[in-house]
Amino acid sequence: MNVAGQVLSIAGRSVTRTFRQPAMIIPNVTFPLLLLAINSNGLRAATHLPGFPTNSFLDFFIPISFMQGALFASGTAGVDLARDIDSGFLNRLALTPMRGVALLLGQLGGAVAIGTIQAVVYLGVGIAAGVRFETGVAGALVLFVLAVLIALGFGAVGILIALRTGSGEAVQSVFPLLFFLLFVSSMNLPRNLIEVNWFRDLATVNPVSYMIEAMRTLVISGWNAQALGLGFLFTFLMIGLALAASAASLRSRMART
């Protein structure tokens, strides 16, 4: 069997087991929606700030739902793999002709599945609640693709942590740290409106800000090549770096001769 076939087999299993655990899907999808509902009402006064780029906090905030969903996806992918390591399932797979890269990519299937469901739900709910894309249908599609890629990237980070630690508990304990990245980004305000210097500096060096801003421009300000370029760049960097580091970790974790 070629690598593509192996990836499909592993991904099929990952997606199947993910869909059979509603407890891993429902909170992941609904929690960001709850936060969207609360913040788009509770923080809408922020739109009165001079220089705020839109008069709808819902439009401004909806990319955060995609980011939160992606962070949850990282937990799903990581915990699943950590369980496989702990239970010996990884050894079972290691005894087949499966290639390491097939395991990494296939294992991300669950994260991509959840990311896709989330993206569909958030887009649907957002549009139903009144979100209007300045970039139209094409922009919505680009946002959809970026959101799934971000879920893939954070899923790869989850897999890296699982391979490094071999423990589901460790993956879950790292999860709040990843959420911290979201909080110190341009999640609640555009960077130019953040008045506290250290916070603005943190948001500026935080790649998550650029992922959010890429999605945000598609909704509120139209096509912006620089924002989109940076958003996709950091997303691909995250995917590439996490997968490369995961591949190295997998070699020591799956030390078959």
Binding site: R20, F89, N91, R92, T257
Partner: protein, 329 residues
């Protein structure tokens, strides 16, 4: 698939961080079609040996050839020739038995038609056809173990590694599994390398047994030959009155050397079973009343005791304590 090469190893060793030598230079020679029982307590090095022979763990010294391939240099070829059911049935609780077989067979590169045929055959063979579409989390321990073995057989391996396959199983499941392993070896010529901590399992199932203790093979041979090596049966006499114990010891001394036995009994190793009648006569002639008198054929535990100075059960506790001390040190 009939095996023609078997397993060979010489000086095979695995040292872990901190200088712990889990396997300390063992030699193995397992013939094609043979069931080799690797007997030892927890922590003796059984699973580490299996991990090295199945290519999951590189040896730190020595060499091993499995199905004609060097485990260090030809890992993929070794994996292609072997099947393995490792210590705990590693199954995905959210998948069904059929889905496990489908995943395993597709990763082994079987065509769609072969996959369907092989899945149906194996489910039938291990008696899981009815439960094939149930999720694993609803399976009993025995069902999981049977599926585990079916998964190991998907690609028709010529050598099968079973790491403590019956640990935790009830008597009925254990017996069914022994039957299946026997059929594989005797009917299909599959070489079986089986680790166990159950004396009975090694005795019933294995053509030859290797006893491992603290990373070393301390005895090897057919169960019969090993028992014959220490050879002679023991007679255990429980006095009616414990005060008669010295007289019984004196009477039995004429029949053979004293040996370890039940704490309330006097035991001697006798030359042959016919001595039992003589012992009864001698005790009667001495006017000694006995509560119980028993003849024990030598067991593999006696072999273990003779070779290591401790019983298999006691050794398991010692190993566990040592491991605990290593962890806490």
């Amino acid at each position: 698939m009939r095996d023609t090469h078997g397993i060979q190893a010489e000086g095979l060793a695995r040292e872990f961080k901190g200088g712990i030598r889990a396997v300390d230079g063992i030699d193995l020679q397992v013939s094609p079609g043979e069931i080799y029982g690797f007997l030892g307590p927890n922590g003796a090095g059984k699973s580490t040996t299996v991990h090295m022979l199945t290519t999951l763990l590189p040896p730190t010294a020595g060499w091993a050839r499995v199905a004609g391939f060097d485990v260090k240099k030809h890992g993929p070829q070794v994996r292609g020739a072997i099947g393995a059911a490792l210590q705990e049935a590693a199954l995905d609780p959210f998948l069904t038995g059929r889905e496990h077989l489908r995943l395993q067979s597709s990763l082994h590169g079987l065509s769609r038609q072969e996959r369907l045929r092989r899945t149906a055959d194996l489910l039938e063979r291990v008696g899981l056809t009815q439960a094939a579409d149930r999720k694993i989390k609803g399976y009993s321990g025995g069902m999981k173990r049977r599926l585990d073995i079916a998964l190991a057989l998907v690609h028709e391996p010529s050598i099968l590694f079973l790491d403590e396959p019956t640990t935790g199983l009830d008597v009925q499941s254990r017996s069914a599994l022994w039957g299946e392993v026997g059929r594989l070896a005797k009917g299909e010529g599959v070489t079986v390398f089986l680790t166990t901590q159950y004396l009975e399992e090694a005795d019933v199932l294995a053509d030859r047994v290797g006893i491992i203790h603290r990373g070393n093979i301390v005895a090897e041979g057919t169960p019969e030959a090993l028992r014959a090596e220490i050879g002679r049966p023991t007679v255990e006499v429980v006095p009616h009155e414990q005060g008669d114990r010295p007289r019984i010891e004196e009477t039995l001394r004429a029949f053979g050397p004293p040996t370890a036995g039940s704490p309330d009994a006097v035991s001697v190793r006798i030359e042959e079973e016919a001595d039992l009648a003589n012992i009864v006569r001698a005790l009667d002639a001495a006017g000694i009343h006995v509560a119980r008198i028993q003849l024990h054929e030598p067991t593999l535990d006696d072999v273990f005791l003779a070779k290591t100075g401790t019983s298999l059960e006691g050794a398991a506790e010692d190993e566990e304590e040592e491991q605990l001390e290593t962890v806490t040190a």
